[in-house]
């Protein structure tokens, strides 16, 4: 339905474009015109399309809410005596009936009647939508094309529309951030209505069991997120332990030692690591690294669990090597040559110069690079979802299995989602914490890097 209407709007716009263009072209013969013919056409096309499209979108979004509340109000008073769940079930039955799905009948006497009301309202709404949208589009065509005169500034109108469009496009970034914060906050509030905030932040037990029977109650679930946070930090720590030295060593080598030919070949190869999808790392971790780590541990007489934090951390470390190496490479290269030459002039060797002059000078930038890498490691999902544990475990031993914030989000949302169940909602509370953790790390890191850059400019 909507698709046909969309096509119709497009058709009206297109014909508006040609009408406007042709009328304006006809004017050219007689007089000098203010705007080129195609801008007259474009202006009419925009008038025919945009308001109608906006209306259509609004209609499609609002229609279900309006109709549902109308049907609800038409129901007899006994409906309003039903409890919350029963009322939802009754509404679902009505909507099923209206779609011709005859399932288990609960024998609500008014369901049939309400369903037929729903059907007729849906139909009415569809007809009304067609009429209103086409009237808007066509009347816009009539009004807009009457304004095609030699001195009408059509270009200016088109330009105004363009300016609005580009401003809105750049505002989408802000809207996205606002939407992220609001949606996470909203769902988290629902979560914290059921689970107290202090229990979530300081509780030591994480076991988001779903209540299978009603009498089990939600109390069987434990939502103390400390072990989840500790697991996240443990894996991120292992990752930094792997990626930090390797990334920094590569950065020093590329920036100070490597000859340009080697650098041109090896650096893109290293950056290849950043382009590999994380699900590939997850597979690599689960298939190769985890068994390897386990066997190595066993041969040393250590008990290593199959989904150890160590294996996930090592692979995550490999993933973030290119972040650290290319960021650190940039900051090391940005250290002014004069500092190096001063050091050489004092008789220092190259390694001494790097250790005692360049590192201290580049330290803020390197710290920034590390913070960005940590933020990346904390937010990474697929590696840990495939190679880390699913059960929360409060430990600092990397040979055991631990879980992470992102894994728990995935676990909570794969499968049945019920938006009144704390298990599902916990994903949003965890997401909120994750968002602010990474946001703070990023802002802080960018601030350090920026200040460092200004220092040497």
């Amino acid at each position: 339905m909507t698709i046909y209407l969309l096509a119709a709007i497009l058709l009206v716009s297109l014909s508006g474009f040609y009408i406007g263009k042709n009328r304006a072209s006809a004017l050219v013969v007689g007089a000098r015109i203010q705007s080129l013919p195609q801008y007259h056409g474009l202006r009419i096309a925009l008038w025919c399309g945009l308001p109608a499209l906006f209306l259509l979108g609004l209609w499609v979004v609002l229609e279900p809410f309006v109709i549902q509340s109308l049907v609800r109000n038409s129901l007899p008073p006994e409906f309003f005596n039903l409890s919350g769940d029963e009322a939802i079930l009754a509404m679902m039955e009505i909507s099923n009936l209206s779609q011709g799905i005859v399932g288990t009948q609960s024998g609500l006497p008014y369901a049939e009647e309400a369903a037929s009301l729903l059907i007729s309202m849906n139909q009415l709404s569809d007809y009304a939508m067609i009429v209103v949208v086409s009237v808007v589009s066509l009347s816009a065509l009539v009004v807009a094309q009457s304004k095609v005169t030699a001195d009408f500034p059509a270009l200016e109108s088109v330009e105004k529309a363009f300016n609005v469009f580009i401003f809105l496009s750049s505002a989408v970034a802000v809207l996205t951030t606002v939407a992220i914060v609001l949606s996470l906050l909203f769902e988290s509030f629902k979560f914290f209505e059921q689970v107290p905030l202090h229990e979530f932040l300081f509780g030591l037990k994480w076991n988001p069991q779903i209540a299978i029977r009603a009498d089990q109650g939600a109390s069987t679930g434990a939502f103390g997120a400390v072990p989840v946070f500790s697991g996240t930090l443990l894996i991120a720590f292992v990752a930094i332990l792997v990626a930090g030295p390797i990334g920094l060593a590569s950065a020093v080598y590329f920036a100070e030692y490597a000859n340009p030919r080697v650098r041109d070949v090896a650096k893109p190869m290293l950056e290849l690591l950043a382009g590999i999808p994380t699900v590939v790392y997850g597979f690599f971790a689960a298939l190769t690294v985890a068994p390897l780590v386990r066997e190595l541990g066993l041969s040393l007489g250590l008990a290593v669990e199959a989904r150890s934090a160590l294996a996930a951390g090592i692979v995550m470390g490999i993933m973030i090597i290119p972040f650290i190496s290319s960021l650190a490479d940039d900051v090391i290269t940005a250290v002014p040559q004069s500092l190096r030459e001063g050091s050489y002039a004092m008789g220092a060797t190259q390694s001494e110069t790097i250790k005692y002059v360049i590192f201290p000078a580049a330290l803020p930038g390197i710290v920034g690079a590390f913070l960005l890498a940590i933020s990346r490691a904390i937010g990474e999902t697929m590696i840990v979802a495939m190679a880390a544990g699913l059960n929360a475990n409060l430990t600092a031993n990397p040979l055991e299995n631990v879980t992470t914030v992102t894994v728990q989000i995935v676990v909570a949302l794969i499968g049945d989602q019920e938006f009144d169940d704390p298990k599902t909602l916990s994903a949003f509370a965890l997401g909120l914490i994750l968002f602010f953790m990474t946001l703070i790390l990023n802002v802080f890191a960018l601030m350090i890097v920026k200040r460092y850059r200004e220092q040497y400019e």
Binding site: T176, S183, A249, T349, G379
Partner: protein, 431 residues
Amino acid sequence: MNRGFSRTTGGKPLSSLNIRRQRAERRFRRIGLFGVGLALASVLFLLGTIFSSGYSAFWRLHFAVDIDFDPVLMNVSSDPSLEELRDVNYLALFRKNLERSYPEVKGRSERRKLAQMFSESVPDILESLVISNPSLVGSKQRIWVLSSSSAEMIYKGAAPRDIEETRRVLTDQQLTWLDQWQGENLTRTRFNFRFFTSGPSRSPELAGLGGAIVGSALTLLVTLLISFPMGVAAAIYLEEYAPKNRVSEIIEVNINNLAAVPSIIFGLLGLAVLLNVFGLPRGTPLVGGMVLSLMTLPTIIIASRAALKAVPPSIRDGALAMGASPMQTIFHHVLPLAMPGILTGTIIGLAQALGETAPLLMIGMFAFVADTPSGILDQASSLPVQIYLWAESSERGYVELTAAAIMIILVFLVFMNLLAVFLRKKFERRW
């Protein structure tokens, strides 16, 4: 750069301090080289693992079976109609033919073991053969059919052979059959076309990537259609129009931060807003593409801004001086010159989007969708999600499929990146 600093000591005899310092220098240098080596070794190790466990999925083991399309066995008349042929129990036909070919196999469980050497798809293969060529009825044919995944794993060496029977995927008897058929030339391997065309399946030997590839393509199409115009528009605003005020500053800070928000958060946004508030259909390329385009936007905006900035102001001044409006200046002069850079950024953004898994999991693109999606409003899977699902399957046959799917996605990514490099090299202008 001061290469080979130690050489500057020239002909003088080296003091012990200098020798120590030279050693430290060499050691330090070696540490750097070691770091690079370790990083590159892990790239090679990763790719090597994927390749060595995935290449075998591109061919499939087939067994030959002699099938007697006996009308009596099929329970049809000697000149059957299509209707009749459709109603035939082809599984029974296959089982009875196996009994004829291997009369020495006695007992129900033994026979079942024999049938388990073949793929579950055999009855379907027989049916389509007969339906497409009804004259087969009454004849005897040697037909090549897919082997079961377990037999194939042993054949390819992907599953261990020399272990006790209870832990092996095939029994001793089944192993003997496999060896026997190999000796009698009743086995052959063929390229696995099905891998590129069919959808997921519960049997590894039948599973393919076709649906996932189409799902990914549709999702990327939606991503491109949304993020490219909006990204370029935003870049034009920020680079060409935006006044230096607080609003512009807030927008800029936001774009930089969005680029670093974990992808799973975008998935949560899609779930809470697009699915729950706006009621868009779950697990469809439409929703997936919308979420991914929010993620791709910052990449495109940042790349497009750099490309616009690289166009010299004299171009704009020239156009404006000739009487072009600001919009005409941008569309006729600035944008065409910035296009190679913008396209490069867009392709790199799309390559990132192609590999994203977590946000798609959040919005429900993980359902077992057997059909190839035909539009952006159909439930669909996508390449990375399929990889995740296969990687989580416990059956051994899925390991090679996962690795092969990774090879496919890496091929796509390499291709996209090469295209980006090519665009940059070919069309980029330096001023």
